[in-house]
Every structure is written in structure tokens, then in C-alpha cells.
Symmetry: C2
Subunit: 334 residues, 2 copies
């Protein structure tokens, strides 16, 4: 791969900083790198490969002469600026939800549908964090046994809500442990010592009662897997964890798979580590999976309530496979 | 109801102390009360209705002349001593799992199957905490629409694992917030800032890969509802919450129910509060439900993946409705 001129838009955010670390860690071939953010962050410095780089203003002209732009700057910013980048010949890999369901924009998880990348017209969408780790695991099961329906409940880390949310969680825990009332600015009710069935933390809900996070899991799964017959229902829940989303996933298949068959299929699939010996305390959990690139799966068992279904527990780092890593993997395939 | 001579066995535990508070709070008609525990706790004093009462030794002869014994002393203790109580004419309401699936022992949730109480032969079993709050909500739905299958994922509070587990969680949070490594004695891996798909925290798993907590939800639901055709699969998960179990529950019914119909049925049912206006941040959550007697349900919606199913979020205090309150309610019906 020849070296590329790379833009990171939204470089100061939680995911933007993970993008920088991931580019560094994977030795992405970089000719030049430009860090962009909103006016508020211009002038800040960020370290990349030991060098201090200035944060510059994200504007229409920032993409001239650049090859690839990794966007993690929110849906509105992306809607405005991604077309400018694409017009300047700079391919956008966008981490927001702005373009994901656009029929002209491929939605890609490299382990699942790498071929869709070549259909891009200047913008490629990175899926939602909770969807990515699930489809990595669903793909080999679907290929072998055809998935009919998925019932998923999530246990999502606070880092997915950004750095203000992380700071609020820490402050709340300190307050409660000191015998004081926790204060809420980001979350509607405390997240410390609590679970909130509401993601995102504001304006989450549509007319059918699902949150937007839940409908992302429903719709993005079909698009990434390239099969509209896969039915999904989701309940997405924020839990007091820093990093690492966990998911309890029930999968109904046309062809019955035994737990052993599923374990063998998953162990042979890319990007997956099977951690499944619960009697010896071997199961994936967020603290252990944070900071790692893979998607971890365990607690695989044949569903006692259904003739052809499996239950499992899927964990991955929401900032890495759920965001920065998946975007960098797409950039690598470009 | 005439006043009763009441025994609380396992009075010093987390649930035992809630039993005392609940008897007090509900003005249970008490002629005399005797607090029992193992040798380790004998000599301790506990306060009941403003009086300091000594903890006495739980032995074979402790039940003579007593009417009702509320047991929360673990399965082994219950297996040994409940028959002595029953033989002495003292009816046992047992909170352990020792007797629950015994065909001679009724398993009772007063809102669901109060009539089963009269079948007792000296012992009545109190169901598992995570099962109780679920069946309170399932019952009116089953009566109206016949439940075929339930897929449940739980978010269970640490108080369900006892006071040593609660102390460990607090110590772990303090360590992590101070930048130190959390220590584990009770849990196999840290529960602070983590989610563990393993309940109980040791020797949890059977040959089919389910934990014993999960199989309790599968089997106890059928027995309490009096219908072996209700299929259940469960994934039970410990989360860093003090008190209040949350559950993400998918319910398939023979007759289709709309979300509005379900809300109306649940709002009219005993022991249930519908909290379901998520757009205005109205949904049940553990912090809000702890300390309350009711079972709370929200996030009720028609499942987009199935022609006749509902998703919902059920929360209740695992020490009250999940344990002490349900036991005292059974005693009230006696």
C-alpha cells in the first residue's frame, strides 16, 4: 500500500484519539496527517508518533490534496463536510450515523462485507459500535445456518457517550462513595450504580418505542449482512463500565447448530476469539476486552426454549472494533 | 389475622434484615419473634420495632411453639432445618432454592398463584429473585394472550450475592478511582466497572452451559405460572448496582397484543407500576426502584422482529419483592 495523506476529523474526541492511536499502532502508511476539529479545539496539540501536531479548523477547504479522511465528529458535521472531502477526491470513512442507511453509501465491517467498499462514491460509513461486534459474530453463523431472528440486549460502556459522560460517571461514583448525592448533567438520571435503558441519553426514542440505538442494530445488521430477511429486535442499555460493550444475543437459525459447531465456526472466523469455559471462569468481560482489537464470544449454548437457536455473550472494545479500529481497517482496505 | 409467633432464620444476612424491616413496615401481627442464625452470629443483637433482640442458635428445637418461620439461611441449612420446623407445626416460608422444584412444595408469588399456598405440607418456597419480578409481569400477559416463549437477559444487583459481595464491590470502586488494582475474593474477576455473565459467582454452570440462576428462571417460571408449555431462555448477568434487578424481556404470545393493550393490562394488575414515557425520561431504573415494594415495567413496545411479541424492561428491588417482601406476603396469606 502506498503512503496516504490522512485527515482525522474530530481528532480531539474519545474516538478521534483512538483513531490516532490505532493508525500508529497498526503502522498505517502515512505520507502526511492533518488533525481537524471545530473552532473550539483549534490550537490544541495532539501527539502522533512522538510528534506534537496542531489541531486545525475543520472547514470546506481542509481536504484538498488529502487521500483519506477518518471522520468522528458527529452526524451534523459529517453531513456538512463529508461531501466537500469526497468532492476534493478524499475518501471519507465516517463514524457517525449520518450516511449509514444512505443506499449510495456502503456500510462496512471488513470481516463481514469487505467487497462493499468498492461500491463507494467517496463516502464509506462505519457502523454503530454495538452493531459491529454483533455482526462479526453473526456472519459465520449466518453463512453456515441462515439466521432468521436475533434478540439482543446490550450492556454498553459509558465511553460510547463521550468524554463528558465518562467524567460525569467518575464524579457520580466519587459522590456516592463519599455519601453525597450524585449530580446529573449529561445523563437524565445517575449512571453510577445503575443501568439506563436509554441510548443515546437524550432524544432517543422513535414512534415505535425503540431508541435510535436499537433501530441502528435492527437496520444496520440487515444492510451489512446484505440480507433483509434477518429479523432483529434490540434493547440497548447503558451500564457503569468505562469501555467494552457486552451483548446477550439469542440467535434463531434455519439449520440447527450445536454449541460445539458454533464454537468451531466462530473460532475459525476472522477477528473473533472464543472464550468459553465458564466452569473455569473463562468468559468474555468488558474489563478484559478493553484495549483489544478482537471481538470475544462465550457462554455459547443451545437455547432450551427453541428447537434451533443459540444463546451467547459477545464483548468487544466499543472505541476500537466498535469505532476507530473498524474505520482504520476500512482505510487499510482502500 | 390473629397474631403469630414468628421465626426469622438467617436473620443477620442481607435478606434476613430486610425481612425484619418488612415485617415491621407492614405491621405483621406478631405475638412473639425469634431471630435465629448459625453459631457464628449467636450473641449479636438486631433491632426490631425499637427493641434490641438477641440472635439465637438455629437448631432442631428452635421451632417448638412457633407458627411461621421465614428462612433465608442458604440451601443447606434449609434442607436440614425446615423439616424440623414443619414437624413442630411451624410453617416454613423458605427463600433458598432447596425446596423450590420439589413437587410436594408450592412455589408462590402472591400476585400470580396465591391459591397454591393451601397445598403446602409445612414448607412453602419463595422463588428466585429474578424470577419473581418477571412472573409478576408475565401473569396478566399470559392470562390475556397466552405466552409461548420468553427470552430474558438480566442486569442483577450485587446485593443478591450477599454482604461480602457488596463490600467487595465498594472496595473495588474505591481502588479503581484511586488508581489502584481492584482485589477479588468473592467474584472471580472485578465487578466494579464490569458486567459478569455468571450468577452465582462460583459453581454456576451445568452441563447444558446454562448457569443455575438461568435454569431457575427457566424452570421456576413454568411451576409458578402452572404451565409447562411456557418456554424460557435466560442469560443472567451481574452488574455493578447495589440493589434493584433490571431485566430485558422479550415475550412471544399466541394472541397478538399491542403495546397499548399490554400497558393497560399491566397497569390494572396487582403489584405492578407502569413507568413508560421514555421520551420524557420516564422508565424504570434500579436506583429509583430500590426500597420500593412494586415491580416496575416500561420500554413496552411491539417487537419489530416478530408478528406477535413484545419487548419490555422490568425492574424491582431484589431484596424486597425478590425476597423479603414476597416471603412476608406469603406469610400474610397464611
Amino acid at each position: 500500500m502506498s503512503s496516504k495523506n490522512v485527515v482525522v476529523a474530530g481528532a480531539t474526541g474519545v474516538v478521534g484519539q483512538q483513531m490516532l492511536r490505532t493508525l500508529e499502532d497498526r503502522n498505517f502508511p502515512i505520507a502526511s496527517i492533518k488533525l481537524l476539529a471545530s473552532a473550539r479545539s483549534v490550537g490544541k496539540k495532539l501527539t502522533f508518533k512522538g510528534e506534537e501536531l496542531p489541531v486545525e479548523l475543520l472547514d470546506e477547504n481542509a481536504f484538498n490534496g488529502m487521500d483519506i479522511a477518518l471522520f468522528s465528529a458527529g452526524g451534523g458535521t459529517s453531513k456538512t463536510f463529508a461531501p466537500h472531502a469526497a468532492n476534493a477526491g478524499c475518501v471519507v470513512v465516517d463514524n457517525s450515523s449520518a450516511w449509514r442507511m444512505d443506499p449510495e453509501v456502503p456500510l462496512v465491517v471488513p470481516e463481514v462485507n469487505p467487497g462493499d467498499i468498492k461500491l463507494h462514491k467517496g463516502i464509506i460509513a462505519n457502523p454503530n459500535c454495538s452493531t459491529i461486534q454483533m455482526v462479526v459474530v453473526l456472519k459465520p453463523l449466518h453463512d453456515a445456518a441462515t439466521i432468521k431472528r436475533v434478540v439482543v440486549s446490550t450492556y454498553q460502556a459509558v465511553s460510547g457517550a463521550g468524554s463528558a459522560a465518562l467524567n460525569e460517571m467518575t464524579a457520580q461514583f466519587k459522590s456516592v462513595l463519599a455519601g453525597e448525592e450524585p449530580k446529573c448533567n449529561v445523563f437524565p438520571v445517575p449512571i453510577a450504580f445503575n443501568c439506563l435503558p436509554q441510548i443515546p441519553h437524550a432524544n432517543a426514542f422513535g414512534e415505535n418505542g425503540y431508541s435510535s440505538e436499537e433501530m441502528k442494530m435492527v437496520n444496520e445488521t440487515k444492510k451489512i449482512m446484505g440480507d433483509n430477511s434477518i429479523m432483529v429486535t434490540a434493547t440497548t442499555v447503558r451500564v457503569p463500565v468505562h469501555t467494552g460493550h457486552s451483548e446477550s444475543v439469542n440467535v434463531e437459525t434455519v439449520k440447527k447448530l450445536s454449541a460445539d459447531e458454533a464454537r468451531a465456526l466462530l473460532a475459525a472466523a476472522p477477528g473473533i476469539i472464543v472464550q468459553d469455559d465458564p466452569a473455569n471462569d473463562v468468559f468474555p468481560h468488558a474489563l478484559d476486552c478493553a484495549g483489544k482489537y478482537d471481538t470475544f464470544v462465550g457462554r455459547i449454548r443451545e437455547d432450551v426454549s427453541h428447537p434451533s437457536a443459540l444463546d451467547m455473550w459477545i464483548v468487544s472494545d466499543n472505541l476500537l472494533k466498535g469505532a476507530a479500529l473498524n474505520a482504520v481497517q476500512i482505510a487499510e482496505l482502500l
